[in-house]
């Protein structure tokens, strides 16, 4: 982490591009919490890469004065994997929606988690498909009526926190756009965490699925006596609850993927084409 001589402020991470989100969108809170978190960490903007897939929330790299990639629907994690493996010196943050990360991109999520790359993945979950105008999403509750589920969904919703735990993410937390200060703290902690950090954010869509009132009445901090190093306790808390729990479910230290790979550098050699070809003689 490079510390700047003149302290960086949230504004330094804000690009000249104005967000295209609808007024009141939960993603604004995530964006502003991200600026503040990056300032808290004093990360040089050029050392940060924000990686996204496709969807409303995935526009976020354009709004950040950092490096970024706006990739394909569902494919942010593979691209982030390549960036972080190739350049462990960079801070890589993946940001996307529930459809992007848990529907089309669901095949990549467990692999990124189990590899334990040192990246933070933020899922801005609005439980609807906003950009394609209000179809249901993999996290929509049973019975959710939408343009593509006019009689109500009959599918069980995906549980991103449980999935992250099951996949081997080494840091798992939940935030809520209605609680921006906590969100900022969680992003700071997620970036600081050495390993695959997953932050699930309830981020309501005011246009098609306004759940602010629902979550305002339901969110509650994870009980103070919860031990986040207790995996089974984290699993129990992640199961469907009366309340929507916010805070850190799980935290563990295990070697990160890119460092385990870099261990080979102890035997690092320069490539010698002459020597390599001689093997075939």
């Amino acid at each position: 982490m490079v510390v700047s001589a003149i302290p960086l402020t949230a504004k330094d991470y804000k690009s000249e591009v104005k967000p295209t989100w609808c007024p009141g969108c939960g993603d604004f809170a995530v964006l502003s919490a991200t600026y503040k978190a990056l300032a808290d960490l004093q990360l040089r903007p050029e050392k940060v890469v924000v990686v996204s897939g496709i969807g409303c929330s995935s526009r976020i790299p354009y709004f950040c004065n950092t490096y970024g990639t706006h990739t394909l629907h569902g494919r942010a994690l593979p691209v982030a994997t390549g960036i972080k493996m190739a350049r462990p010196d960079l801070t890589v943050v993946v940001m996307g929606g529930d459809g992007d990360l848990f529907s089309i991109g669901a095949g990549h999520f467990p692999h990124a988690a189990r590899r334990n790359l040192d990246i933070l993945t933020v899922c801005m979950d609005n439980q609807t498909y906003g950009l394609t105008k209000a179809q249901y999403s993999p996290t929509s509750f049973v019975g959710h009526k939408s343009k593509s589920s006019p009689y109500g969904t009959v599918e069980m919703p995906m549980n991103p926190v449980l999935m992250a735990l099951a996949s081997g993410a080494s840091w798992v937390a939940r935030g809520y756009s209605g609680r921006p200060k906590q969100l900022q703290e969680l992003i700071v902690e997620g970036i600081r965490h050495k390993g695959f950090a997953f932050l699930h954010v309830q981020s309501p869509c005011t246009e098609f699925h306004n759940t602010y009132n629902y979550y305002d009445a339901r969110v509650q901090d994870i009980p103070k006596d919860h031990d986040p190093t207790d995996y089974m306790a984290a699993i129990r808390l992640a199961m469907p609850q009366e309340k929507t729990l916010l805070g850190v479910f799980y935290r563990s230290e295990r070697p990160v993927y890119e460092e385990r790979l870099r261990a080979f550098e102890q035997i690092k050699v320069e490539f010698d084409p002459d020597e390599f070809l001689s093997r075939y003689g």
Partner: protein, 575 residues
Amino acid sequence: MPKSEIVIRLGGEGGEGVISTGDIFTLASARTGYHVFTFRTYPAEIKGGHAWYQVRVGPRPVLSMGDQVDVLVAFNLEAYEKHKHLLNTEEGVLIYDPDEVTPEPRPRTVFYPIPFNRIARQDLNFVRGKNVVVTGVLAGLFGLDPTSLTQFITQRYKRRAELLDQNLKALEAGLNYAQKNLTKADPYYLTPTERVGRLVMSGNDAIVAGALTAGCRFYAGYPITPASEILELMAQTLPRLGGTSLQAEDEIAAIGAVLGASFAGVKAMTATSGPGLSLMTEFMGWSGMAEVPCVIVDAQRAGPSTGMPTKLEQGDLNHALFGGHGEFPRIVIAPGSVEDAFWQIINAFNLAEKYQTPVIFLSDQSLSHRTESLLKPDLSKVKVVDRIQPTADDLANGYERFAITETGISPMSIPGTPGGMYVAPGLEHDEKGHVDNPLASHEKMVPKRFRKLETLQKELEAPPRYGAPDARIGVIGWGSTEGAIREAVERCVAKGMKVAALHPKVLNPLPEKHLEQFISSMDMVIVPEINYTGQFARYLRSVFGIPVVRINKWGGLPFTAGEIQRKIEEVVNGR
């Protein structure tokens, strides 16, 4: 008359050592100074099924696998039945296990019955040593220097003393059997020649060697036949070089990771085969739009769908040229031989870096898996190109990642560079990468991106040309068929026909100027390729508006020079 050019074919049950016998024999021949060219095919199952291996050995460069079989080694009855019709009718040699095969009489064929199984099982009590016994017999029969074989076996088993001992005994048993029990009655001799040490590499080996030489330090792939050896060799080599290799969860993730690494400033590659290329197609478009360089090796196999994983087809050209939605520049390269694969993959990296586009590199099952002997490439000729990066001035004056330039190429900043921040977008964007005014951007950016191909096309060198300088019949081929086409054309020229061949390596953009010159000097153009629909023939026709005569082969096997020669003669005479 003694002969030192031999085509040997070994056939047997998959898993009983047919391929390894061929490999050992090939390497020993090359070490003794011979040129070699092999072809192998095996069933898609792990055990069982029929496998065969062909090696053509000669004192002069060999360009293709050979037309007929001079020596057939039948490990079992199936091998005998499957291949006997190809055996040289004048000077054929049949080596077989009499406990397995009872051959029918053939005039002018030399028979060497050798009880491989009995020697391995009873004399040596080492069933798995049968392949080495066969190798010993072949060395004994054709006079191959046993020292190189002993060296090879010692090297291979140096860490496993017991196996080493058993294998050396098996080799000796084979040599002894040939010398004591067989009376040499065939004309083939592989006695030591000039002793120029040659490398023996497969196409996949050469691709890895070239990629690493070009500076590739990141590889991601998903196992698929016939590209898997590239993943394995990269996984073995890259970590020692401070690079990284990833076995991704699927092909989509593989190319995604490659593009991530490349965006981050590291030269990166993936390798796959047809089904994997299909999955990578969407990211190919992203690479084109976001102008992130990448190299995609497609070791083509017979399709469609899962098709024939271990069999050859030049079936993915259309996909490489046109696959994907929308329009984006991509470079397509197809190497002609193992040695060419080394040079062309370096070219692929250089072009990817210079033009910031996807480069699709079309190998195929025959090229990826076959081995050829070659002199060690002259490494002083290696030229490595790196992508252009913004200058301090560019960065100070409102850096535009996608600046409109005459060449279509814009400086690409690397994460970590202050002032160079930008978003690599899949959406249409302006010079800065902003996405808010797509219509206006699209109008400017489409030609900007395609100008890269125009720039490249002007720089393309003349493709290799073979045959008569005053030819009136032109053959245009692509990819791994180069050797067979060249040999066929040279044979036709030797018979007095005015035939020449051109073999372009960069297929998109085509070296149009050079092709036009060639085509306009011909009365007729013939296009041989291993597919049913004549993808390259159609492509040439669409670009040059000329009628072409197609020679197509499908069914999973490469062309022999004789097949192409006969077709050229038919076409020429039938006119």
